[in-house]
């Protein structure tokens, strides 16, 4: 019994360690002071106002959102059909294809970003918004593929067979039977993809220009020069966004299944 108590205490300490730096930043984002220190002397919302007034942050937030939405959409368009096929096929080489499609997750992102920058310049896309979206899609696609494959594999083929027997064409069967059934997988994958893109620094870092500066890139260059609490306020906003996404994913997909997705 003492062993179990010690284990529980260890787990509590572990989460103290995990949550401490995050909670500290959340508290600092509400500081009334002009510097980042903990504990804070008083509460205020001035740093959230500062974000609204500081144009580079707003521009970067807009860029990040746009990049994340577009690369997630593109990821879904590419990954969903692939996942449907991979989940049902019995072809021997399907495993290799699946490994290949998931492999961007295993490659160092700094290498993907660095290589992509030169490649995009060579083929004439250059340091542009489209280059950023395309490269983010490389990193985001595997998340959608993984969750949709997992959901579709767990469904018996009988649903679609029934639709076919009842006379539905392949398009109708997909729209009215398959799509609603795999929607949780798409939603969870899309949320992960969105957050991955929104938070991505190692890839976006290489595409620095006025149209392509994403929020993490702007935050990185800001934090290298100044240490005021506006970074804390931005981080807190981003955390709220992530938590909302995670709660939605839990509702539609189930948090226990996300152990595999993360």
């Amino acid at each position: 019994m003492t062993g179990r108590f010690a284990l529980a205490a260890f787990v509590v300490a572990f989460f103290g360690f995990i949550l401490a730096p995050i909670l500290v930043v959340v508290v600092i984002s509400f500081t009334s002071a002009g510097y980042a220190a903990f504990p804070i002397p008083g509460w205020s919302l001035r740093w959230f106002l500062r974000i609204w007034e500081y144009e580079p942050f707003l521009d970067a937030m807009w860029t990040s959102t746009l990049v994340a939405v577009l690369s997630t959409l593109l990821s879904c368009l590419l990954a969903v059909p692939a996942a449907l096929w991979l989940a049902r096929t019995r072809k021997g080489w399907a495993n290799a294809v699946s490994t290949f499609l998931l492999s961007p997750l295993s490659m160092p992102m700094i290498v993907i970003g660095f290589s992509s920058l030169f490649f995009m310049t060579a083929i004439g896309i250059g340091i542009s918004f489209s280059a950023l979206v395309l490269t983010h899609t490389v990193v985001c696609l595997p998340y959608v593929l993984r969750t949709v494959t997992a959901v579709y594999r767990s469904l018996p083929p009988a649903f679609e067979e029934a639709a076919a027997i009842l006379g539905a064409g392949p398009v109708r069967a997909f729209r009215e039977v398959t799509l609603p059934l795999i929607r949780p997988g798409i939603a969870a994958g899309a949320l992960f993809s969105f957050l991955t893109s929104f938070d991505n620094l190692p890839v976006s870092f290489f595409f620095g220009s006025a149209q392509t500066n994403t929020l993490p890139v702007v935050m990185l260059s800001y934090i290298e020069n100044q240490f005021d609490p506006s970074i804390a306020a931005l981080s807190t906003l981003q955390l709220v966004l992530a938590l909302v996404c995670l709660l939605v994913a839990d509702r539609v997909y189930g948090i226990r299944k996300m152990m595999v997705a993360a």
Binding site: G3, F15, P81, A82, L101, S106, P108, F118, V138, D199
Partner: protein, 284 residues
């Protein structure tokens, strides 16, 4: 009874079945594989425009560069081992004792993965600053020290921050495997007179080694490529990703950065290969 789907040729017969997978494969070939090939070719470009191995000769013989490669691997290994040691008990608790709390624990493990890396390093910078919370606690409240500790820009803190970022992956990997262990095996061992500790050591731990393996490869792989934490928290490490970052921002020797990328990529591929072998053995 005539079946409706026989009345017209199914779509599948008109086009190859693997067509749905084609766009994704082509996309990744174009924007993932080609850039990496292009990058490798840049690293092999000779000084006169031909083929040259001089960058690799420099990377693999020069003392400093070899040191960097070694440091990358050692730092990642240290981080991986610490993650396994800390992560195992948490994974064990999550699977065996958490009960209705398990949802919350998984939430608390995944949520940090979705917070920005900048946020977490910022948090450490505040907590560990010269007049930060930790130093104030040690000096003023406990009176353990008479002067604040220099904690930022030390190797220990960089390792701590990396462990903080990566340990959730380890916990989730181990927990997935622990969940699949037939608990009757443990009950059997206990019924035959083994103590809880011996049961753990001789039954549970060996059965969960695959989870530690998957988690270790995953953590090692991500640690190998991470540089933001090291850029912001310092620690004096010289690792491959950090050097690539510096080559890009200051030295601007892109050929050399490409060669370093190829080496980093080779390590990642080796990890991926190990990962696949492990997953195949688990029969997933």
């Amino acid at each position: 009874m005539p079946m409706a789907d026989l009345s017209r040729p199914p779509l599948r017969r008109r086009m190859p079945g693997w067509l749905p997978v084609l766009p994704a494969v082509l996309f990744l070939c174009a924007f993932f594989v080609l850039p990496l090939i292009d990058n490798a070719m840049r690293s092999f470009a000779g000084p006169d425009g031909g083929f040259g191995l001089h960058r690799y000769a420099l990377l693999l013989t020069d003392r400093f560069n070899l040191g960097v490669i070694a440091e990358t691997v050692i730092l990642s290994s240290v981080v991986t081992v610490i993650c396994a040691l800390i992560g195992y008990p948490v994974a064990y608790y999550l699977v065996r004792h958490a009960g209705r709390w398990s949802g919350l624990i998984i939430f608390l493990l995944i949520a940090p993965l979705l917070t920005s890396i900048i946020m977490r390093t910022y948090g450490w910078q505040v907590l560990l600053a010269r007049r930060g919370l930790v130093n104030n606690f040690l000096v003023q409240d406990l009176g353990l020290l008479d002067r604040p500790l220099q904690m930022l820009n030390t190797p220990g803190i960089a390792i701590l921050a990396l462990v903080h970022v990566l340990v959730p992956y380890m916990v989730l990997s181990i927990a997935t495997v622990l969940q699949g262990i037939d608990q009757r095996l443990e009950e059997g061992a206990q019924m035959l007179g083994a103590s809880p500790w011996r049961t753990f050591r001789e039954v549970t731990l060996p059965l969960s080694l695959d989870g530690i393996g998957t988690g270790a490869i995953l953590v090692f792989m991500i640690a190998n490529g991470s540089f933001v934490t090291l850029v912001l928290l310092g620690g004096g490490f010289q690792t491959l990703p950090l050097l690539i970052y510096q080559q890009f921002t200051t030295t601007r020797d892109f050929g050399m950065a490409s060669a370093m990328s190829v080496i980093l990529l080779a390590i990642a591929m080796a990890c991926l290969y190990l990962q696949l072998r492990l997953v195949r053995r688990q029969g997933v």
